[in-house]
Structures are given as C-alpha cells and as structure tokens.
C-alpha cells in the first residue's frame, strides 16, 4: 500500500505565542522535521487540523500568508476542549498539524483590481493570510482598503499589524469597535461594520470584496455591498462548518451537495446564494 496515512499529523513546534485579545492567541508553528518543512506548501484561504494529543483536533485556517516562509500561524479563541488545551501550551511545546485542505482565494484572478477586505472579530485570521499575501504582491493590485471591527478595543486581534497597515501609505485602513466598546483614547471609528462600510463607501469599480465575520455581520454587510454596486461574483467569503477529517469523508461540513472542506472554505456570493441555508 503506497498511500500514506491521511490522518497522521506533522509534528509542529510552537515557536512563538502571541496574546491577541482576551482568550485569543496566535501560535507561530515550525515543522519539527526539516524534510516535511521543505515539502510543505499551501495557498491562501486553506485550513488545517491542529491537534493536542489526548484532547483531539480542531479546525482553523492558516492565518499566515504563503509569502512568509518557514512557518505557519494559526489564531484561535479558547472555547472548547481542544482550544483550551492549546491555550495551555507554551513556546517549545509540540502540537500536531494536518493540512493544507480546501480551496483558495483566487488572488491570481484579482490582478489589476482593487481589493476591499471587510472583517469582524475573530474572523480576521482567515483574512489576514490573504491580506498579507496581497500586500506582499502589492504591485499586482490597485487600491487596498481594510475595514475591521470588533466588539471592543480589547477584542481587536493583530493589534500591531493593524497599526502597521494604518501606517502604510498604500493601504486605507479603517478600524472600528461596536458602540460602547471604545476606550477614552480610542481614535478609530465607533459603529458596527456594515454601518462603517456604508460610511466609508468604497468604490465597487474593478473591486473585489472579501468578507469574513460572524453570521450577523455578514448578513448586514452583503446588502451594503450590493448598494455600493458590487456584483455577487466579486464578493468572496468563507464558510466555517464543523469538520473532523478535512477531506470530504466524515460527512458533517456539507451544505447541500457542497462540501465546505473540499469545495470551500472560500465561496463567492454567487455560489453561496445557490446553497441551501444550512450553514
């Protein structure tokens, strides 16, 4: 039998732990085995299964860009059994990783276009990969706008990177917190993401919109994008259903005939509208 064991994870060493927000951490992971590191590649939008042996596996996107070589990063909120076990780990510890799985953000097709990234809360991680990928290939794109909101100032993730993007002359960065989530020294916007999107009113001309966020944010963001003139084909989002295997066998992530793990997690709004509302 020449096939390899699909369920056998790579050993990854936690090189760096960053506290992003309350209960939210980022791990920078390096392959323990150099040969595996050299053979590994992924594209932006893909995800993996991260495991703590004895606790189980959890599904997250790869939150770093493929342009950053030598490591991958994941960002997770401590919520269940596996993420709690992950949270308790320290730099130097080892975890399991399987992947990459799933489809990709088609950034090659976006060449020559403007990009509008809209993210809410803990949904910035999947978008951070594609943001950095595009920024590292900045000459391929026209205007880049990032609108990011969280419940409160404390809940904003990647705080240093938000500042970096803010300072870049080639990025228009809009950061917002929900009303009541601001601090006295907050100088970003205050308001829900869809409201701030409407206020920012980016042009839809030759522009791709990428939206990741909690369902309620997504629900109110799509109509604003439509009002701004975005076509369904130019709006991208990701679905995050529960998964076990990551490659189309365990049977729980499908939405109708579409398997989020194989056909997704990246979908256009056109594709999303063809799916039954079971996500």
């Amino acid at each position: 039998m020449s096939e390899k064991n699909l369920y056998l994870p790579y050993s990854m060493i936690i090189e760096k732990v960053t506290e992003e927000a309350p209960f939210v951490k980022t791990f920078r992971l390096k392959f323990e085995n150099e040969k595996e590191a050299n053979n590994f590649s992924f594209k932006t939008g893909q995800f993996g299964e991260y495991s703590v042996f004895g606790e189980g596996e959890s599904t997250f996107c790869i939150a770093s860009s493929p342009t950053k070589k030598g490591y991958i990063e994941c960002t997770f909120r401590q919520a269940g059994r596996v993420t709690t076990a992950l949270s308790n780990l320290e730099e130097g510890n080892t975890i399991g990783f399987r992947g990459p799985y799933g489809n990709i953000f088609p950034i090659d097709d976006w060449k020559g276009k403007s990009l509008l990234f809209i993210a809410g809360g803990i949904a910035l991680p999947p978008m951070r990969s594609v943001i950095w990928n595009c920024l590292d290939l900045r000459e391929n794109f026209k205007d880049v706008t990032i609108i990011y909101g969280a419940r409160s100032v404390a809940d904003l993730v990647y705080k240093q990177e938000l500042r970096d993007w803010e300072e870049r002359p080639d990025v228009k960065m809009v950061t917002t917190v929900d009303p009541g989530g601001e601090t006295p020294d907050w100088n970003g916007e205050v308001g829900f993401v869809p409201t701030i999107l409407e206020k920012t009113a980016p042009s839809s001309k030759d522009t791709i919109a990428i939206v990741c966020g909690p369902p309620i944010m997504i629900k109110y963001t799509f109509p604003v994008l439509e009002k701004l003139g975005f076509s369904d084909d130019n709006i991208y989002t990701t679905l995050e259903n529960r998964m076990k295997c990551g490659f189309g066998k365990c049977g729980r992530c499908n939405v109708g005939k579409v398997f989020v793990c194989k056909d997704g997690p990246v979908f256009t709004l056109t594709q999303l509208k063809q799916l039954p509302a079971e996500y």
Binding site: N93, R242, C250, G251
Partner: protein, 341 residues
C-alpha cells in the same frame, strides 16, 4: 474479467470453508446469537447460520470497523509525537455469506473513502478482504434492492457468488481475480456449471419506486413539508446509520492511557443532534427534519451527483432497526410520487 461459472456440490461447501480456514484466513460468517443473526469470527462451519434474510448489522465493519485506530501517539508535557499505524499486518479476511446487496454496499464506501483523498486504512483492510456472497432465496417487505439498481442474485461487489439450486447444490460465479484465487485453493471441489437457470432460484423483490425519479429530481425536494412529516417521530438515535452498509460518517476522538494513546475513528450519524453543532452553539442542522433530509439527500442526491453512486443498496436494515418504525422504502415511494405532482 468475464464471469466464470462452476458447480459446487452441497457437501463440498464445508470443504471449501475448511480449505480457506486452513489457509489462515479469518472467516467472518453469519452466526445466530440470542435470536439475532450477525457476522462474527467463526472457527467451524457448523457455527454458520444459513437461515436468514439479512444480518442485523451490515458487513461493512470488516473494512470500516465501528471503532478503529488511525494514529498512535505519545504525549507528555515536554514532548508529543504521532506514530503511524502499520496497515501491512491487517489480517486476510473472508466474508462468507454476504448478500448481494451488502456486496454492492462496498462500492458506496469505496466511493467515499477514495474521493480524491485515498484512505489507506480502509483500502488496506478491503484489499485483504474476499467477499463470498450467497444469492437471496428469501426476502421480506423491507427489502427493496430492485428499486435501487440491485438484484437478489446480483454479482456486483462480490468476488464469488453462490446460488443454491433446486437439488441443494450451488451455482458458483467467479467474478474477480480475488475470486479466482479462492477457487484455486481447492480446484478439486468445483465441477462444470449446472444447466439450471439461476433466476428461478432467486427470491422475487418487487420494484417499489424508480430511483431516478428521486436522484434526478432531488433539487425539487429540498424545501418540502415531507421532511417534517416523515421525521416527526424520529428520535435521532442513529440506529439506521449503525446498521447501514453504506453510511460512512465518522467522528475522530483521542483515547489516552498515561503517556500513550490512540486517535480513533468511530462511526457517527448525521441524525445525531450534535453532529454538526459548532463550538459557539450554532447548529446548521438544528432540527431533526433537517437531519433526516440530510440522511436521504446524501444518499439519493449528493452521492449520485458527486460520487456517481447511489448511497443506498435497498437492504431495508434501517427500517427493521428503527425503534419508531420509520420505513425508508415507504418514505422513498412518497418522494418519488412527489415528483409527479
């Protein structure tokens, strides 16, 4: 390969069993225990039950066990590592007494376990498994193989098919290379094929619905009151999935003992309420009717469209096992009729 036909005398059946057993193969065959017939590891021919329509549980566990190790691991505070499992030492197995529908069931499992990503554990087990089926001479109202392209004497999926003819001897059909190798273990037992027609020795399973009415029109069903009506009494126990020869949905869990442990693959069911539940509490299939719809649509719409195979072989086990008497063939008849409205 072209199917080759032979005759096996009634008295030679036990000899064939003994030959295969002596060859070191693990023999799984239907055994009656506490009034229930199920596949079990057998040592002697006498343990085998031959008076059954179908076993309660399907034969799938030979290639896809209910609980199965997929990875070993060592885990301590300062070091963790995964260890691959050895699939080369899986035993050589003969599944004896499979019904033709169950043999077809492996096609559905194959389709799932080889969909782009080849599951080496499943494939290694299947490769070591030879399937000796026996045609059906009895059936009941729950049987509907003929409605889903099957047949009580169908050869698909089996390595060898035996059909009992009127004098008690067996018509032997050698279907695959694996089947040929089995016959080669005891060539002296096989004689020239009988002239008697095979079909007259088979049970008659009436066609209850046209499966194409369902597979080709399933898009029309998604939003339909039928799902609620049919599933009102479903208690989400998952018995249907656990007896089903084609259900392949699984969970993955870790089980540790001290520093060592195993990652396990376990049967699961789309009818369980927690199956799709997110950590946040959000559940895409929140109510039982959605889960029942998933079960039927997966088998009769998504699998035909994505994997080119119907995910049901018409054995009717789910109907027999259901504690609240949900009858799948009645529900499928309703769906097929719904198209004509």
């Amino acid at each position: 390969m072209e199917i080759e036909k032979k005759l096996l005398k009634k008295a030679s059946l036990e000899k064939l069993f003994e030959k295969l057993k002596a060859d070191g193969k693990k023999m799984y065959a239907p055994v009656k225990k506490d009034k229930l017939v199920n596949f079990a590891l057998v040592d002697t021919f006498g343990e085998i039950c031959d008076d059954y329509i179908l076993t309660v549980k399907s034969a799938k566990s030979v290639a896809f066990p209910k609980i199965e190790k997929i990875v070993d691991y060592e885990h301590s505070k300062n070091s963790s590592k995964a260890i691959d499992i050895d699939v080369s030492n899986f035993p050589e197995v003969v599944l004896w007494g499979v019904r033709p529908c169950d043999a077809v069931g492996f096609d559905s499992l194959d389709a799932i376990f080889t969909w782009d990503y080849k599951d080496n554990i499943y494939l290694a087990r299947l490769e070591k498994t030879s399937i000796i089926s026996f045609s059906c001479f009895k059936s009941d109202n729950n049987c509907f193989c003929t409605s889903v392209n099957g047949n009580p004497g169908g050869t698909k999926g089996s390595d060898i098919l035996l059909t009992k003819i009127s004098n008690g001897d067996y018509l032997v059909e050698i279907i695959t290379e694996k089947g040929k190798q089995i016959i080669a273990k005891a060539p002296e037992l096989f004689e020239a094929a009988p002239t008697e027609e095979k079909d007259k020795n088979l049970t008659n399973v009436p066609i209850k619905f046209n499966v194409k009415d369902i597979t080709e029109n399933s898009a029309k069903f998604f939003e339909n009151d039928l799902w609620v009506e049919q599933s009102l009494r479903c208690i989400g126990c998952g018995a249907c999935a656990f007896v089903c020869p084609t259900c392949a949905c699984f969970d993955i869990q870790d089980e540790s003992a001290g520093k060592n442990g195993t990652r396990l693959r376990l049967w699961d069911s789309c009818c369980f309420s927690l199956f799709t539940m997110h950590t946040s509490g959000h559940n895409p299939r929140e109510v039982q009717s959605q889960r029942w719809r998933q079960r039927i649509m997966h088998k009769f719409s998504y699998m035909p469209e994505r994997l080119n195979v119907v995910g049901c072989i018409g054995c009717g086990r789910c109907s027999r096992a259901c504690p609240v008497d949900m009858n799948i063939s009645e529900h499928l008849i309703n769906l097929a009729e719904e198209v004509k409205k």
